[in-house]
């Protein structure tokens, strides 16, 4: 049984981008809808970003995207576009590209799973959302998150090697949240930069194999994101989500999302942790035995490898 897994935001861009018509189309969509140049990882001015997209989605969706992009792009996409938001768009673009390639190769998913921001291209894989809408939602929600950085500096912290209980104690000591439970020994903390710096030192002292942090636009996957509820609900109200054509297993409770549940999930997932190990185990229990990581990098496969090793024990 095939499972397509959609990873979250990559931390960096690969050395080279795909060089073919499919990726060019997706890059054009990103440029048109988000005013972001994937080749150079650079935000464009309003004039530069008006190149014609090659949208696959409905005419209505593309029109809405253009209007939103024009109105908000100047404010968010060009003047306030952040490195993180650019990487989110890059990650979604690569996922959409790899999804196209898999489809061209005749590979179809029996199940779809997602990790964090991977939900947007995952919705495309299920037929719930068009490519243009997935790109536009990524940009609009990412821009809303990025505005949180105006008043506070935030960070994410990778902690490898400690157990969940140890990581939770460190999070509690430092007013942070555990944002990703990826395996029994791979975690992501989220919170303010100042608190994160102290937590990383504490994690190293506690015996973490590695602990490092990087600045982020918002306290992703933590309750303080609930401040944005009104804005996010308003964004999501602009989109229609079709019934998934195959089961879409969510990373919160490992249930299969129905169309009517998707907007609520998209809001909730921003303020709740990602439970990848539980998700992988649920996918295995559901019968998935061929896993395709549809996006940048191979972190999910590596987490799965770790979990498999523990299952085999």
């Amino acid at each position: 049984m095939n499972c397509f897994m959609f990873p979250g935001q990559p931390l960096a861009r690969c050395a080279s981008l795909p060089d073919d018509a499919d990726f060019a189309q997706i890059a054009q969509l990103v440029q048109k809808l988000a005013r972001f140049d994937l080749q150079n990882l650079a935000w464009l001015s309003a004039e530069e970003g008006t190149g014609e997209g090659n949208g696959e989605g409905t005419e209505e969706g593309t029109e809405e995207g253009t209007e939103e992009g024009t109105e908000e792009g100047t404010e968010e996409g060009t003047e306030e576009g952040t490195e993180n938001l650019g990487l989110q768009l890059y990650g979604v673009a690569l996922s959409l590209y790899r999804l196209r390639r898999l489809r061209l190769d005749g590979v179809q998913p029996d199940l779809v799973a997602e990790h964090s921001m991977g939900i947007y291209p995952a919705l495309v894989a299920c037929g719930s959302l068009s490519e243009p809408d997935a790109i536009e939602i990524t940009w609009r929600i990412g821009a809303a998150l990025a505005r949180m950085a105006k008043t506070q500096q935030y960070a994410l912290g990778c902690v490898l090697g400690l157990r969940a209980e140890q990581v939770q104690i460190i999070a509690d000591h430092n007013r942070l949240h555990v944002a990703n439970h990826n395996t029994s020994r791979h975690f992501l903390l989220s919170g303010t930069s100042a608190d994160m710096a102290a937590a990383v030192l504490e994690a190293v002292d506690a015996g973490a194999f590695t602990a490092r942090f990087f600045h982020y636009d918002a306290p992703l996957h933590t309750p303080p994101i609930e401040r944005l509820e009104g804005e996010i609900v308003g964004i999501l109200a602009d989109y229609r989500f079709a019934e998934p054509l195959c089961p879409l297993i969510n990373h919160l409770d490992q249930g299969s999302l129905r169309a009517r549940e998707i907007p609520k999930f998209l809001l909730r997932e921003l303020s709740r942790p990602v439970y990848w190990e539980k998700t992988y185990r649920a996918l295995r229990a559901a019968g998935a035995d061929r896993f395709f990581e549809v996006g940048a990098g191979d972190a999910l496969k590596k987490y799965n490898r770790w979990i498999e090793g523990e299952i085999e024990k």
């Binding site: 090697g161 015996g207 194999f209 590695t210 770790w306």
Partner: protein, 85 residues
Amino acid sequence: MTDELIAEVKRLIIESLRIEGMSSDEIETDAPLFGEGLGLDSIDALQLVVGMENAFGVVVPDAAVGAKVFRSVRTMADYIAQHAA
């Protein structure tokens, strides 16, 4: 350090990281494991730490030590030879 230990380390890498389609012979003894070499990352490093501990009873305590140990197959074998009980 023996050729046998070098071969064991290569097998450990392939098995721990579940590298498909690659034989031990294809891993160069002195090539970097991270970056331009096998392209390993910190997730792989932790996997190798556990693999080394299970196979040889050797502990790599942290990433700073790991950065030296996991430079190449040869440095891994050197570390095992020095620290195995």
